[in-house]
Structures are given as structure tokens and as C-alpha cells.
């Protein structure tokens, strides 16, 4: 059987530094797959490898029967993978609607259709009241949601979310988590990076913990949270 998403022995080196070291994992359809790790452990690099912003040094990435690692970056989205950025990259001088429409144009060239679709998604993400605001004037929580909406507009089968909750207050965090769950319920598989484990515990089906680019644990949230290597990575050596 073809795996929905599979990374095989992925390695990325920058000069002498190994940012991602021989990672292998699979994600099955409909899952929320979490990736955690301390700052600088290679999570975002991994996303950049999947979305082809960087070329892999070695290893293979398969998605839906397609091999990704030799495709140009903009083709990844065509394959059905959407992503958000850790440091949000809104299209600053476009309105929220415009941002989302830019995503919606992937599958249509009609302004009307793109617009209807974008409005639906904006509604789905709870951004209706900001629809005509310029992206640069939005607060951070809205910007993060906007990024998700924009990625959703490309109709992804797999959504890569990079630190969606970082910098949000608890209320906003909860809203974001609610949104992520609704997206999953709508049939989109999600890989999510979080630094804060708390967020991951509630939503992830499985979690991959990495440090120094290598896997240190993989399993259910509870298993991972109790894994001594993870605790060590987060809290320091002698904590148990």
C-alpha cells in the first residue's frame, strides 16, 4: 500500500552543520502529526525540506505516491501540500481577502470563483470581520490565522503548520487549536510544529520529538511527554 506521506532517511547539512539527521517517519491520512523539539533542533528546516525551499542532502520524501525531493518549490503546492511560516509572511499590502484569493487561484482562474472560495475559507477561519483590512495592519493572532486560511485556499491534502500558537495568549491559542481541529475534521491531514508541548498534547494523534536534527522519540503525546530524552531536551539533564 502506498503511504500517504513518508520521509525516508532525510538528511540536511549546511556546510559542516547537520541540521536534519537521518529522519524517517510516516503520516497517515486524517492524522494530526506533531513535531516538537527545542529551539534550533531542526523542525523548521524539516518543513523547508518538505516544501522544497531547501534541497535535501540525501533521503527521500514521498507524498501520495509522488516523490517530492526533485520537484521545484512551487510544484509542491500543486501536489496538495500547503504550509505556513514560523515568522508569518503575510502579503502585507493586500487585504485579507486578497491574500486568501492569491491562494485560491491555484485551482481556478476565475475571479468570481476564487472570490467565493476565499470568502468561504475566510468565514471558516473566523476572519470575516477582517476581510477588507490590509494584512500589515493585523494583530499577530489574526495574521497567523490568515496564513492558515491562505494555505487552505490552495485546497491542500496535507497542511504544514509552523508554530501556529507561538506568541498567542491562551484564548487565542484555544481558538487556533479549535481551528486546527476543524480543518482536520474537514479532511485535511496536518503536520504541526510546536515548541510549546502543551498545545500539542491536546490535538496531536502522534508526536515526533527531535533534537539536534535527530529523532529522540516518536509515539502518542503521552508517551513522548514522558520520554526521558524529551524531558531532558526540554528541562535539562537531571529532571525526571
Amino acid at each position: 500500500m502506498v503511504k500517504f506521506f513518508e520521509a525516508k532517511n532525510v538528511v540536511k547539512r549546511f556546510g559542516g552543520l547537520t541540521a536534519v539527521n537521518n529522519l524517517s517517519f510516516t503520516v497517515s491520512q486524517g492524522e494530526i502529526f506533531g513535531i516538537i523539539g527545542p529551539n534550533g533542533s531542526g523542525k523548521t528546516t524539516l518543513f523547508n525540506l518538505i516544501s522544497r525551499f531547501f534541497p535535501v542532502t540525501s533521503g527521500e520524501i514521498h507524498f501520495n505516491g509522488q516523490q517530492l525531493e526533485n520537484l521545484p518549490a512551487h510544484k509542491i503546492c500543486n501536489q496538495g501540500i500547503g504550509r505556513t511560516f514560523q515568522v508569518v509572511k503575510p502579503l502585507r499590502r493586500m487585504t485579507v481577502l486578497g491574500n486568501v484569493m492569491a491562494g485560491a487561484f491555484l485551482h481556478t482562474s476565475s475571479m468570481g470563483k476564487a472570490r467565493t472560495k476565499a470568502e468561504e475559507i475566510i468565514d471558516f477561519c473566523g476572519l470575516t470581520q477582517f476581510k477588507d483590512s490590509e494584512a500589515k495592519s493585523l494583530p499577530i493572532a489574526v495574521r497567523k490565522r490568515l496564513e492558515i486560511a491562505r494555505a487552505l485556499a490552495t485546497e491542500p491534502k496535507l497542511l504544514l503548520l509552523d508554530e501556529t500558537c507561538a506568541g498567542l495568549n491562551p484564548r487565542e491559542s484555544e481558538q487556533a487549536i479549535g481551528l486546527i481541529k476543524r480543518i482536520r475534521d474537514a479532511g485535511v491531514t496536518i503536520i504541526i510544529i510546536e515548541h510549546v508541548m502543551k498545545v500539542m498534547m491536546g490535538i496531536s494523534d502522534r508526536i515526533l520529538a527531535i533534537n539536534f536534527g535527530s529523532q529522540i522519540a516518536l509515539g502518542s503525546p503521552q508517551e513522548v511527554a514522558r520520554h526521558p530524552e524529551v524531558i531532558k531536551a526540554y528541562l535539562g539533564e537531571d529532571h525526571a
Binding site: A73, K75, I76, P90, L91, G98, M111, Q129, F130, I140
Partner: protein, 327 residues
């Protein structure tokens, strides 16, 4: 929203009607001449704006396309004795063809490096057209004898060129392509993540930009009737001037380049007529002031003002945590 759109079209239609009526009101050929020049620059400005303003790829080498368009018209006449009006068909096509390899070369670079590469290419065109004397007549330039001399005729041709350019750029900008172009300007990484092939779309912006610049060049040749490489491939008088025109009017706006061209040409002409030998100096000071205080041009500046006036009341809906902190 749709109402606003209809109003916009209505406004455009009114402007067009007014423009069509102008020669029946202003009969002075000198004023028509100024207006014709304004339309030439508005066309180049609008074309440049598509690449520079909307796509964010600031070209310092649009003289290359302008010159190629003008020379296409001139050389047709020189070598084959064809009417230079055929150049209006050939010029833009040649300019667009020239843009293909240029795009392939220069879009490998970003930001100021792209600008510098375009600048170098523009200069290379100038030098090549100066040196290839067999083909281009070199520095002697190309002189034609216009068959038609009526200002009104040129006015309407110029107007048609401008209207077509405005219409096409407007349609491009307000379509999928336009959204993609602005996305590329705002954030290239984000654009890529949305499945936008950025280099391809930069070329998509470059081709019509070169096409219409070439069209303006061919029209210019027909109107002014004489060109030489130092004129049409000139760095400061064409490549830089077009950027100033757009910056003055409004970067990435529909009407900006036209307004900019109007002000630029009219003001330049006025200064020239009134200020004597200090005219370029005053003009230079004005350029500095505009860039320092109205970096997005007159339309951009007015836009900011409008926002300042209206924002204070409404604020952001549901601002909550998003209140803006200002010290």
C-alpha cells in the same frame, strides 16, 4: 464592492470622453504636443509599473525596450522603405522578444542587483546600437519624414496606445495574474508556498511591460521622426525618468503613471520655460523632496492621508489585543 467597481468604470469612461474631447477644446498645437508627450510617458510608465510597481522588480533598463521599439519602426523605414507605422506592429513584438532572454538572465537576481543588471543591459543596448553602424546607422540616427503631420491625429493615436495599455494592464492586474504578481512583490517565499512559479510570473509581467514600452517607442519614432541611440537608449532620460514618472504619480496604482507623466512633463516644460538655466536644478530638488516625503507618489500620498482621516474613527474591527501601540 460592485458598486464601487461600477463607479470606477464610470469614472474611467468620463475621463476617456474628456480626453477624446480635448483636441476640440484645446486647439493650440503646442498644448496638444505636450499632451502627446504625456501620453508617451504615461504609456511607458504604465508598462513599467506592471513590472516595477506591481511585481516589485525595479528595472533600470526600460530604455532597452523603448529603444528597440523605436528602432524597429525606424529601421523598417530605413532598410525596407516601409511606412514607419508598420513599426507600431513590429516594434512591440521585437521588444517583447528582446525581453525574453533579458528576463531569463536578470530574474536570477533579486532587489538592487536586478536593478543594476537591467541598468547594465540597457547600456549594452545603447552601445551596441551605436556601434553596429551597418545595421542601425550608428550615432547618425534614423530620420524619417512623417507622412501625417496633424497633431490631432497623433493625439488620437497616442490616446489609443495609452488606453489600450491602461486597459490591458488593468485587466492583468485585476485577474489571477495580478494577484500573483503582487504576491511575488510582497513575499516571494509566501508566493512560492502558494504554488506560484515566481520566475515564470515575473516573465509574465516583463513581456507585456516590454511590449507596451516598445509600442510607445514605435509611436515616439513616428511622432518625433528622429532617433539616435543616445536618445532612445538613454539611461537618465528614459530608464530613470520612467521610474520618476511612476514614483511621482503613484507606484502600483492604475492612474499613477498617467498622473505622474502629466505632472512630470508639464512641470518640466513649465520649469524649462520659466526658470532659465536653473530649471534642471529645481527639478532635481523636487525629485529629492518627492522621494523623501511622498515615496509612494501623489496617489499613494493622498491614500495615506485618506487613511489618516478615516481610520481614527473606525479603528480595526474587534481590535482586542491588536491595538496599535505608538510611542
Amino acid at each position: 464592492m460592485n458598486k464601487i467597481k461600477k463607479l470606477n468604470w464610470l469614472f474611467a469612461l468620463l475621463v476617456l470622453l474628456a480626453a477624446i474631447a480635448v483636441p476640440w477644446v484645446i486647439k493650440a498645437p503646442y498644448h496638444l504636443h505636450i499632451l502627446i508627450l504625456v501620453m508617451v510617458w504615461a504609456t511607458i510608465g504604465t508598462a513599467w509599473n506592471l513590472l516595477g510597481g506591481y511585481t516589485g522588480q525595479v528595472s533600470f533598463g526600460h530604455a532597452a525596450f523603448f529603444g528597440v521599439g523605436a528602432y524597429a519602426a525606424g529601421l523598417l523605414n530605413l532598410h525596407y522603405g516601409l511606412s514607419p507605422w508598420w513599426g507600431m506592429a513590429l516594434g512591440p513584438v521585437v521588444a517583447a522578444l528582446a525581453a525574453l532572454p533579458i528576463g531569463l538572465i536578470c530574474f536570477r537576481l533579486r532587489g538592487p542587483y536586478f536593478a543594476l543588471a537591467m541598468l547594465a543591459l540597457g547600456e549594452i543596448f545603447r552601445l551596441m546600437f551605436t556601434n553596429l553602424t551597418e545595421f542601425t546607422n550608428g550615432a547618425k540616427g534614423v530620420l524619417i519624414m512623417p507622412e501625417i503631420t496633424s497633431k490631432m491625429f497623433f493625439y488620437y493615436v497616442g490616446l489609443t496606445v495609452l488606453v489600450v495599455t491602461l486597459l490591458v494592464t488593468y485587466l492583468i492586474v485585476h485577474s489571477k495574474i495580478g494577484y500573483y504578481l503582487v504576491s511575488i512583490r510582497e513575499d516571494q517565499d509566501a508566493a512560492t508556498s502558494l504554488g506560484i512559479p515566481t520566475t515564470f510570473y515575473k516573465n509574465v509581467a516583463l513581456l507585456p511591460s516590454a511590449f507596451f514600452t516598445g509600442l510607445a517607442g514605435a509611436f515616439y519614432m513616428n511622432y518625433v521622426a528622429f532617433i539616435d541611440p543616445n536618445i532612445v537608449f538613454n539611461l537618465s532620460n528614459v530608464s530613470v525618468m520612467v521610474i520618476l514618472v511612476v514614483m511621482m504619480g503613484g507606484v502600483a496604482t492604475t492612474w499613477g503613471p498617467t498622473i505622474g507623466a502629466g505632472i512630470y512633463i508639464a512641470l518640466g516644460e513649465y520649469f524649462r520655460a520659466t526658470l532659465g538655466s536653473a530649471n534642471v536644478l529645481v527639478f532635481g530638488i523636487l525629485v529629492c523632496l518627492i522621494i523623501m516625503f511622498m515615496p509612494n507618489g501623489i496617489i499613494g500620498g493622498l491614500e495615506t492621508l485618506k487613511q489618516k482621516f478615516f481610520r481614527s474613527g473606525t479603528g480595526l474591527p474587534g481590535g482586542g489585543n491588536g491595538e496599535v501601540l505608538r510611542s
